[in-house]
């Protein structure tokens, strides 16, 4: 099948995937806290409700920036599955994330602003990893597109153990899980109130949620790249990673941004840098 079809399918199906994942997440978290939790489809009901509500907008530029956030996030996934060069996708991915920072930063609220700055820091922390990860996958497989890697005879994961391990670490940032959820919080009593979403309500919050679902689906697609010989195995690996993230989320408290930045850089440098170095030296 033409890869462009996969790209288009991503745009429509990724939110379904992301929403279901959020539903499972909430049920699992609830069970960990000895609660029953909401129904599986609750995130979809929530999104529907958010999108129907009027948004209380602080200034005229927030909404278009958030639409840009969702749009570029969807485009990232579409380009990824649609066969665009993987390293190019890494740059678009960062751009998509940046729009959320700009939306929150354009509001003059101290809470939003702090959230925006912290989101910029986590972007700074995680971006080197994603560039190196995709570069390493290209290097190992000798391919440059998503389909190419999946059809490659080389098994990626066995050659990139360090990168895979680092992925589990860095994914915490992208999934906004504790201890790395420094830019957002779902808990009103904490110092950030709700971080960079403080001034987003109604459909604006809905856009943020949708973009996050796309982001989760993109991460799942990245994991599949590692297990390129078997897509189901890749999805299983993503499920295991996600489960671990939920567990970590429920058992740790938020770290300071300094720790997030330092630890992510060190992990990227040691695990990923070391792995890449080995790739170049051992033939």
């Amino acid at each position: 099948m033409n890869p462009v079809v996969y790209g288009v399918l991503f745009v429509f199906l990724a939110p379904v995937f992301g929403g279901l994942l959020a539903g499972v997440d909430r049920i699992t978290s609830a069970r960990m806290q000895s609660r029953v939790g909401p129904p599986l489809l609750q995130p979809f009901y929530d999104l529907g409700k958010l999108l129907q509500k009027d948004a209380r907008q602080v200034n005229p530029i927030v909404e278009p920036l958030l639409l840009g956030h969702v749009g570029f996030m969807a485009a990232t996934g579409a380009m990824l599955l649609g066969g665009t060069d993987l390293i190019f996708v890494a740059f678009v991915f960062a751009l998509a994330a940046l729009f959320l920072v700009l939306a929150a930063g354009s509001v003059n609220s101290p809470y939003s602003f702090a959230g925006a700055e912290r989101e910029l820091i986590v972007l700074l922390a995680s971006e080197p990893f994603f560039i190196l990860m995709l570069a390493a996958i290209c290097k190992v497989s000798g391919e440059s597109s998503y389909g190419g890697v999946l059809n490659s005879a080389v098994m990626v994961a066995p050659k990139l153990p360090g990168v895979l391990l680092a992925f589990a670490f860095v994914a915490t940032i992208k999934l906004r899980k504790s201890p790395f959820d420094i830019s957002t919080s779902h808990h009103a009593h904490q110092e950030l109130v709700s971080g960079l979403t403080s001034d987003m309500s109604g459909r604006l919050l809905g856009y943020v949620e949708m973009a996050h679902w796309y982001e989760s689906a993109i991460l799942a697609a990245f994991v599949v790249l590692f297990f390129n010989w078997s897509v189901p195995l890749g999805l299983l690996a993503f499920a295991v990673t996600y489960g671990a993230e939920v567990l970590v989320d429920n058992s740790t408290s938020r770290a300071k941004w300094q720790l997030v930045l330092r630890s992510t850089w060190v992990v990227t440098l040691l695990l990923v840098g070391g792995n890449v170095l080995a790739l170049f030296l051992i033939k």
Binding site: S106, V107, I121
Partner: protein, 642 residues
Amino acid sequence: MGSLVVFLVAFPLLAGGLLLGVRNGNLRNVIVVLAGLVVAGASIATAVTFGNGNAVFFDLPNGLTLGRSLLVVEIVIAAFVVAVGIHYRRILAPILVLGQLAISLYLELGGKTPELEPGRLFWFDRLSMVMILIIGIVGTLICVHSLGYMRGFHRSSPMIKGRRTVFFALLFVFLGAMFGLVTSNYLPLMQVFWEITTLCSFLLIGYTRTKETIGYAFDALNMNMLGGLGFSIAILMLSGQPDGLDLARLTAGPATAALLPALALLCLAGLTKAAQMPFSRWLLGAMYAPSPTSALLHSSTMVKAGVFLLLRLSPAIAGSNLGTLVAFTGMLTFLFVSLVGVTEQNTKKVLAYSTIGSLGLIVGCAGLGSPELIWVGMMIIIFHAVAKGLLFLVVGTIENRFYTKDMENFDALLSRLPKVSVLALIGISGMFIAPFGVVVAKWTAIRAFLDVPGWQGAALLVIMAFGSSLTIFYWGKLLIKVLAMRPMTQHERSIERRVSRFEWLAEITLAVGVVAVAALIGVISERVVGPQALATFKGTSQAFLHVEPAMLVTMIVALLFLPTLALWASRQKRYDMADFYAAGRPVTSAGVMGAALGGVRTVTLRNYYLEGVVNGALVFRAGTVVCGVLLIALLTVGMLAR
């Protein structure tokens, strides 16, 4: 062809001389605009005449020869530098310039200069064409912009004695010298133009003649003169070699061991001009000069001369240890300055760090050398010249309205100066918003690094990944400041009306240029940059020349997205549609909120500068030391090769 190039060199020099005598402001405006039109027109005419041709070599028209003219110019330069050195009691620059003069005198009067084959004084190829267009168009726009800027500059700094006749004369002399530099094939000829640009930049940086700027001007002079001395010694060494002073033949292929010492010294010259570490300090000092100077030095000329020379040398040094060391000097400079940039609050300095970083990437590409990497280097030159030139001019305009360069004071720029903000956004999007030209270049570079064997490949990838992520942080902070919106008073709204016609003309033209080069990236790649890259390295693979349509569309959308929506938002009736969240305390949209116990506080929002994690001064020093060691290694490797 020959007469056009000579016109390009001579006309700006004449215009500069004329401007020296023009004290009337209106007359000066007319002359600068007309001369700018002529220079831009002539550079376009040169490019059109050249067309899509292969490299051409030619002499001065009508059988003219250089004779002793180069020596005369050098003596004048040396005498001037010595006089300035004595006046300000600075010893280093005079020593360096006298060293250069001694070598020239020895070669010229001792008859040691080998005869150059007739018809090979100038060398014009697609790289020269790109440079000519950049200097001719971006350079002259900066001159036009200065007409408006300098008026505001002197209004806001009444203490500084205006010497605008000299200022504009220097701008044009600078342009003329640059035209000569990028078309020279005969190394002694190039060196004379090289020294003229050094001298002009010295005078432009020291324009205000305050104690501070004179110090920075001498920094620039010393460092560039050091590179110039390296250039001279290289010429001395090469004069004994057959075809040694013929740049095109010297760099036709991998250099023999006998040539490496001289090439190492030429690389030194290139690295100083391109402000690579350990020579980055002079470019940062240049930020205290008037903004058009910064724009001219940074975007279109001076620093581009350094990377131009290194790109020229690339085929000779690529693959040798010398080339690898040059490449790592550039790439590490990119990494270090990007890290320092994260901690910088002065907007012009942030732009300077970003510039040094971009130049570092080009140096890295030139040192490693391959068709792909030459492509990357030239692409960055083009995009950087247009987008960064625009940004410096815009920051100059903002600075003259707000009397500050501090990023933190650019708060709510979109509300205060909506049109200027839109132009700034085009510049920032052009420089950095993925995935525009510079990003396409970075992406191609990463692709090329994947094929570099051994630990070098891995190291380059890691440097690239961290370096380019760091740039997201400082551009992101600047964008937040620009895009924030709040209601404005009548007075605040009126500020933008005071921006001069000349500034609008230059900035809008450059903004259109940014969009145009983005839209034409495919044509530029296939017609100009690609053939040049393939000719330089005798490559045949065409794959990298092709820009996918999906990428092109994403690029244009990403480039225009922020400026368009900013334009739309700034035209809305109200900038404050609701109060922001302040933990339930009462707020007004101008940023005043109720504090505890009934007090009232104004909200101040400051960006993060990673205090406690990244120490900018320390990183800068570390980079200087590391790259300094590399530089010593580079020169040693060059010398030992003999």
